[in-house]
Structures are given as structure tokens and as C-alpha cells.
């Protein structure tokens, strides 16, 4: 079959266009998966109570013994405080870590899939002696446990 030049160009354009369109359809969901929006509001400079309300939406916190927060009682350097958190609560979806007297109280928000155990550790900063609160969202309820960490800057005793 003979093709004119005009027909050939027309064909390549249609096939090429279809290819582009389909590749976009494939690429887009992948992109959407990688782009999770960072919650600006939650990480605003605010007081602890306001930050807490933004997280829970006013829902009451339940004190829980099923969350273990391991953090030093006295920290010499407020810039680097290791903590680890574990919980035996079923169906934990989210874990929040807050420092009450930090300029930005919320330190981190972990979103867990069922494949991950509630067993996390990281390092956080503290401006001064304060309570560290860890909140676990499980089954639509917010459970918490807290510990006070004394920050001694320059070893002069807070």
C-alpha cells in the first residue's frame, strides 16, 4: 500500500498523540502517589493547646498505658534528644510527637500502613524543659502518654 507524505504525517501524529496521552495517564497516578501534601497548618508557630486542637479537632485524649515513650529524663543538649516510641494498640494509623514548649509544638507526624509496627525512633529538638507528648490515633480514638524532659543548657541546671 502506497502512502502519501500527508497520510504518513497524519498517522504518526495520531499514534504519537495517543501514546503521549496514555503515558500521561500512567504517570499521573504515580506522581499523585509521591506527592503527599505537607500539612502547613499543623506545623505553624503556635501554643500547645492550639496545635493539639488542630490535630484532634477538639476530640478528648485518652491516657494510655499501651504506649511506651522512651526518652531521657535529663538532656544536656536540647538540640539532639533521642526518643523511641512503641505501642501495642491495634490498628494504629497515625503517631504524633509533640513538645509542649517548642515554638512549633508538633515535631513529627507518622502515617503508618498496616505493614508497619508501631515501633519508631528518631531524634528531636527542645527549646527548654518541657513535657513531650506522644499521641497515637487508633480506631478513631486519640491515646496519649507524656514524659517530662529536663533540658540543662550549658550544664547550669534548668
Amino acid at each position: 500500500m502506497m502512502q502519501t507524505r500527508r497520510q504518513f504525517i497524519k498517522k504518526t501524529l495520531t499514534i504519537g498523540g495517543a501514546f503521549w496521552a496514555s503515558s500521561w495517564l500512567v504517570v499521573k497516578p504515580l506522581w499523585a502517589q509521591t506527592e503527599t501534601l505537607w500539612p502547613t497548618g499543623l506545623f505553624a508557630h503556635s501554643k500547645y493547646q492550639a496545635a493539639l486542637k488542630d490535630i484532634t479537632g477538639g476530640q478528648a485524649l485518652i491516657a494510655s498505658k499501651d504506649i511506651t515513650l522512651t526518652i531521657p529524663r535529663i538532656a544536656e543538649n536540647g538540640a539532639l534528644i533521642p526518643f523511641s516510641l512503641s505501642s501495642t494498640l491495634e490498628k494504629a494509623e497515625r503517631v504524633f510527637v509533640l513538645v509542649k514548649k517548642n515554638p512549633v509544638p508538633l515535631v513529627a507526624r507518622f502515617t503508618l500502613s498496616p505493614q508497619v509496627n508501631t515501633q519508631l525512633s528518631a531524634r528531636l529538638k527542645m527549646a527548654k524543659t518541657s513535657q513531650v507528648v506522644s499521641i497515637v490515633l487508633a480506631n478513631g480514638q486519640y491515646y496519649y502518654t507524656d514524659k517530662t524532659v529536663k533540658v540543662t543548657l550549658g550544664g547550669c541546671g534548668g
Binding site: T36, F43, A108, F110, T111, Q115, V116, A122
Partner: protein, 103 residues
């Protein structure tokens, strides 16, 4: 060189994933001693952990995480040769990603 180091360790039925990222994590509240100017905020906002290209954990963080962040997570299962990917993006639009195989 990548800014991310990943170590994985298989335990009984679980895999521990540890990561260390080189990042300044500036709060935007500190002043530079040299010229008394405020150092611009520069911190990681989102960290994503994938297991065989499936997201298993995301962490949103503020500047309250220490400089050169360290994290450790525990995953159910995990076979030798499985791929673990860690990706971060910060408030200045930088991003990095690193793969590691479970040994």
C-alpha cells in the same frame, strides 16, 4: 553522593529499617553569628518509606527534628532482596531518594 544512608536488619518476622539523612534542619529562628542575620528555615518536610515500591510509611515533620535526622522503623515481614526506598523533600524544594536491598 546520596544524602541518605539506609541499614536494614531482619529479625524474627520483622525487618528493622534505619536511616540517617544529611540535612541541616534549620528552624528559621537562629541567627548567624557572623553577620547577625537570621538563617533561613531549611528542613525536611516529608519522608516516605516504600517497600517494593509500595508506600508503607510517611512522616511529616517540622523543624523540631534534629539536624542530620535519624529514624528507625519496624516493618512486618521482609525477605532478602526486597527493595526499600526512602525519599525526602524539604521546604526549599530539594529532594533525594535512595534504594536499599534487604540482606
Amino acid at each position: 553522593m546520596s544524602s541518605i544512608k539506609i541499614r536494614t536488619k531482619r529479625q524474627q518476622g520483622t525487618t528493622q529499617i534505619r536511616t540517617l539523612i544529611a540535612h541541616p534542619m534549620e528552624t528559621g529562628l537562629n541567627t548567624d553569628n557572623q553577620n547577625q542575620k537570621t538563617i533561613a528555615a531549611h528542613f525536611i518536610q516529608t519522608l516516605t518509606v516504600r517497600h517494593n515500591d509500595k508506600i508503607i510509611l510517611t512522616t511529616d515533620m517540622g523543624s523540631g527534628i534534629s539536624r542530620n535526622p535519624y529514624f528507625s522503623f519496624e516493618m512486618k515481614g521482609g525477605e532478602p532482596g526486597d527493595k526499600v526506598t526512602i525519599q525526602w523533600s524539604d521546604n526549599q524544594g530539594n529532594r533525594d531518594s535512595q534504594d536499599a536491598l534487604i540482606s
